[in-house]
């Protein structure tokens, strides 16, 4: 039976679309720099930061947008953000090396937030350069206070990260209990008294500037509750004589990867049907992405990133700020304003939305054993270079034909392929999904994985089997001309190729 191809075509906004349209340029880059290759558009990250800022303005809110550095290792993106308004854009670093990188890219210490698990060296440098430390626990506070006193570091601004909002019953009235995944980060609200006492005890070493949370969920309801609870906790802190001004609501604003809702809906429906055996498999060896067939009923949950998001990024923040909070009955934006709080956010994926793509050369194409309608397409990259599977992101690559083969073989039509990597490993699949392409690729063509700057392009890249790790280039446009340079050579100056004399 011949099905219509189940495409999941990517959402491509104008700057990235224009780059993608310049096929000879992209081929020439890979010819020079090899496959795989990451291409970044640093200008887009600044535009995204501005979109978040405009949501702040709409709600009359003040505070910084902190880029969660862990989403991408690039220097170009961090340097471009460093050039943004210092009062509006900061950076969230989660390791000593990320902190050093941010400083070397032009961020001053006061624009840096140190998050995540921290060792002594990381804490020392953060305190030394005047970064804000997002405290994970009372233990970390004790360590920081001790370092400050021992090394004469001066008073450090800290945020206290809270968790465990679900079991909090202190401010009832919302009626229902909203369950949340438990986080191993942050101090549970139930133990907050101990935290406040420790903050008071260490007032000579640290100044509490605000409260923070980050919930790993797409659910607005859970986040609205946590935000409201933080607003109330801010008042408790003030009543104790502490002087916090900021609520930091973390990240998790999301990205829409797939352009059309219909394609996403058709594919996910087909996945259920395939799991039930009602249609041919859509995946490598019938993988169900977490769904399984138990006596004709689908059980389990699909471990898939919701790849079509009608509302994501700045729009999601806007919705979160606008919906009615469960206990106090006013929108979170109003609560923040009325309680005189600033707002911090830490978007990662959403801030680098549409900022880049990953290119891979097609090395080999052959029909699959036992099913000549499907093909194996081997790429000059491996699953570590675009970690789509690792994050459950499903989206098609874009085929960029090599110039001389573009008009050949007019009978070519849509075809289902399995994309396999360059490792000598059965499991090295770029995606387990059967990917449909508008025609069969040939060796020498490029596949462009779009929108990979958030966690996908370099998060899991490795040197296994001594395969090359992707180089990264930054592409800028000036006066209609496209320029590129290596990521490490990019600086946010006009005339990247030097000022014409």
């Amino acid at each position: 039976m011949k099905d219509a191809p189940l495409y999941l075509r990517p959402r491509v906004d104008p700057p990235l679309a224009s780059l993608l349209g310049d096929v000879p340029f992209l081929h020439s880059l890979v010819d020079v720099l090899g496959s795989p290759l990451n291409v970044l558009l640093p200008e887009v990250v600044a535009e995204n930061a501005e979109r978040f800022r405009s949501v702040y303005r709409r709600h009359h809110l003040v505070g910084r947008v902190y880029f969660a550095h862990k989403a991408n290792r690039s220097s170009a993106l961090v340097r471009r953000l460093a050039a943004c308004d210092p009062a509006g854009v900061g950076i969230d670093v989660a390791s000593l090396e990320e902190l050093r990188h941010a400083l070397s890219c032009g961020f001053t210490g006061d624009r840096v937030m140190a998050t995540g698990p921290k060792d002594r060296e990381f804490l020392w440098l953060a305190a030394r350069v005047g970064a804000t430390v997002n405290l994970d626990s009372v233990g970390e506070l004790e360590l920081l206070a001790q370092l400050v006193r021992t090394y004469g570091l001066g008073r450090v601004d800290v945020l206290a990260r809270l968790s465990g909002f679900e079991s909090d019953t202190g401010h009832g009235g919302a009626g229902t209990r909203v369950l949340s995944r438990r986080s191993r980060f942050g101090t549970p609200l139930a133990e907050a008294d101990e935290l406040w006492a420790a903050l008071e005890r260490h007032q000579d070493a640290v100044a509490l500037t605000g409260l923070a949370y980050h919930l790993d969920t797409t659910g607005l309801e859970e986040k609205a509750r946590a935000l409201e609870r933080c607003v109330l906790a801010m008042d408790e802190c003030r009543a104790r004589g502490l002087a916090p001004r900021v609520v930091d609501i973390g990240g998790g604003f999301g990205v829409g990867y797939v352009a059309e809702a219909g394609e996403w809906e058709r594919w996910t429906t087909a996945l259920s049907e395939a799991v039930l055996g009602a249609r041919p498999s859509l995946t490598w060896r019938g993988h169900g992405y977490g769904l399984r067939n138990e006596g004709g009923t689908v059980r389990g949950a699909a471990a898939l990133y919701p790849a079509h998001r009608p509302v994501a990024g700045p729009g999601y923040l806007d919705q979160l700020l606008s919906r009615t909070a469960p206990v106090l009955g006013r929108p979170p934006a109003t609560l923040l304003l009325e309680h005189l709080n600033d707002l911090y956010v830490e978007p990662g994926r959403a801030l680098v939305d549409q900022c880049g793509l990953s290119l891979a050369r097609v090395l080999d194409v052959r029909p699959m054993d036992g099913d000549p309608t499907r093909h194996l397409v081997r790429l000059g990259m491996n699953a570590g270079d675009v970690s789509l599977e690792e994050h459950g992101v499903l989206v098609d690559p874009v085929l960029l034909p090599r110039g001389d083969s573009r008009d050949a073989a007019p009978d070519d039509g849509p075809v289902g392929v399995h994309l396999v990597g360059n490792l000598c490993l059965e499991a090295d699949l770029i995606t387990r999904r059967l990917v449909f392409l508008p025609r069969l690729p040939r060796a020498g063509d490029l596949l462009a994985f779009v929108n990979t700057a958030g966690y996908v392009s370099d998060f899991h890249a490795h040197h296994a089997q001594r395969q090359p790790v992707a180089r990264t280039v930054a592409v800028t446009e000036e006066g209609g001309a496209r320029h590129w340079c290596l990521d490490e050579d990019y600086w946010p100056l006009t005339h990247p190729q030097g000022v014409p004399s």
Binding site: G290, T297, L335, H339
Partner: protein, 445 residues
């Protein structure tokens, strides 16, 4: 009619013919099975009672908790049944999308747990989905949970095979209808009724309606979600079709305004889906002299879905705004008519003015309690909005200083009050934030 228990009033609901001039099907008699007339208000009364009965009779008066995955009518019926037997009821759900139903369940004494949303930073190797944990909790030794398990419990189907189905046949003078149209939620009613109708007449055609995938209709699952229902068997249905929330509301409005049936959106979806599907059947019957009959279920009533309708079709509830309102002022009118006063001048005015102004803080009561300008009164903006509709809430002789967080809302109200004839009302420029930033004093309750 006299009963010993309200549970005896479950079932035996009317079957009402829809006037052909409403649906326009000239050759088909279309009947509505009014399940909304069950005592707890919906078709779910039957399976809830049938599933819970063995548990309840065993556990009555104990400390058990009836638990079910439900965000609507099953939860409603079970909450009432549990209360009737001195037990608690807990609903676990991620689908609590209609606020009135949530509040109604709380009124009925239900405890509600809402499941977490999908992970944003996904770990595909994490197989611990919230429902798995829910089922683990139920089967822990010593668990006091009585799980009715509506998506898998065969007694859900039985309730309809023993009640709804035979009632339809009886009311059609011992005949099964040619068509049965059902919305698919737990698949209990469609499966149970279809079984009985087919026993009477294997030719009965069953149309299952599912919700459009990107849409939400209370009580109806999408095509993917029905595959997760244990009672769902594709062989029950001759065909499956999808309906949208807009169609559901269209159908609901027709049933309400033309048929005198106070149906909710689920019944509306069934009606609209039925008429849409039967239109071509009707065309085929024209001129053959044959007539057919069709039955659909009106699942529940309209009252709980006002916010659902307001979200999707606000014009149906088009409340006319009355009295003066800030929304009637344009930005340029506001700029032209509102007086503002800076923080320094305002400080002097509140301290030395003769008379001193009344300071009105428009923020929420919690924010006000935490920090406010000494001597100010708190009238929350929403309440202020209502107050000014009926006239000026204070004397024209009392000057007024309005304060909000950043001086935006207060500016609008200053313009409005000026327009209403107040001679001296001023908006605090930059609001309480500017006041704080200027180092002016704020006090705590």
């Amino acid at each position: 009619m006299r009963y010993d228990s309200i549970t005896e009033a479950i079932g035996n609901t009317p079957l009402v013919r829809i006037d052909p001039s409403v649906h326009g099907l000239g050759n088909i008699d279309l009947y509505a099975k009014l399940e909304m007339l069950n005592p707890f208000g919906s078709v779910k009364d039957r399976p809830a009672w049938h599933m819970a009965r063995p548990h309840l009779e065993e556990a009555a008066g104990g400390d058990g908790t009836v638990v079910e995955l439900s965000s609507g009518n099953t939860a409603k019926a079970l909450a009432l049944l549990a209360g009737l037997h001195g037990l608690k009821f807990k609903s676990v759900t991620n689908r609590m999308r209609v606020p009135e139903i949530k509040e109604l369940l709380l009124l009925l004494g239900a405890e509600i747990e809402e499941l977490p949303g999908q992970s944003e930073c996904l770990d595909p190797t994490d197989t611990d989905d919230p429902l798995t944990r829910f089922h683990q909790a139920l089967s822990e030794p010593g668990s006091r949970y009585l799980h009715t398990d509506q998506y898998f419990n065969p007694r859900n189907v039985e309730a309809h095979a023993a009640g709804t189905g035979p009632e339809i046949v009886k009311d059609l003078d011992g005949q099964a209808p040619d068509w049965f149209i059902a919305c698919v939620g737990t698949a209990g009613s469609s499966t149970g009724v279809a079984q009985v109708l087919r026993e009477h007449d294997p030719q009965v055609r069953v149309l299952g309606l599912v919700a459009d995938k990107s849409d939400f209709i209370p009580g109806i699952r999408t095509i993917d979600e029905v595959h997760q229902v244990g009672l769902f068997d594709p062989a029950t249905y001759d065909s499956l079709a999808s309906v949208t929330s807009q169609e559901a509301i269209d159908g609901m409005v027709t049933l309400i305004r033309r048929c005198g049936l106070l149906s909710g959106p689920t019944g509306g979806a069934a009606y609209q889906g039925a008429v849409r599907h039967l239109a071509s059947v009707d065309a085929g019957l024209a001129g053959t002299g044959r007539r057919q009959s069709a039955v659909f279920i009106v699942c529940d009533r309209a009252e709980s879905y006002l916010s659902y309708v307001r979200q999707r079709r606000p014009e149906l509830l088009g409340r006319a705004r009355r009295g003066p309102s800030v929304s009637s002022l344009t930005d340029s009118e506001i700029r032209a008519e509102a007086r503002v006063i800076g923080v320094e001048d305002a400080r002097r005015w509140t301290a030395e003015g003769d008379p001193r102004p009344l300071v009105v803080d428009l923020r929420g009561p919690h924010a006000y309690a935490a920090l406010h300008i000494e001597g100010s009164v708190n009238i929350v903006d929403e309440m202020f909005e209502e107050l000014v509709r009926t006239g000026l809430p204070f004397s024209r002789r009392t000057p007024v200083l309005l304060a909000c967080p950043v001086g935006e809302k207060s500016l609008r109200y200053a313009a409005l009050l000026t327009r209403m004839g107040h001679p001296d009302v001023r908006s605090l420029a930059g609001g309480i934030v500017a006041w704080r930033d200027a180092g002016a004093p704020l006090t705590r309750e």
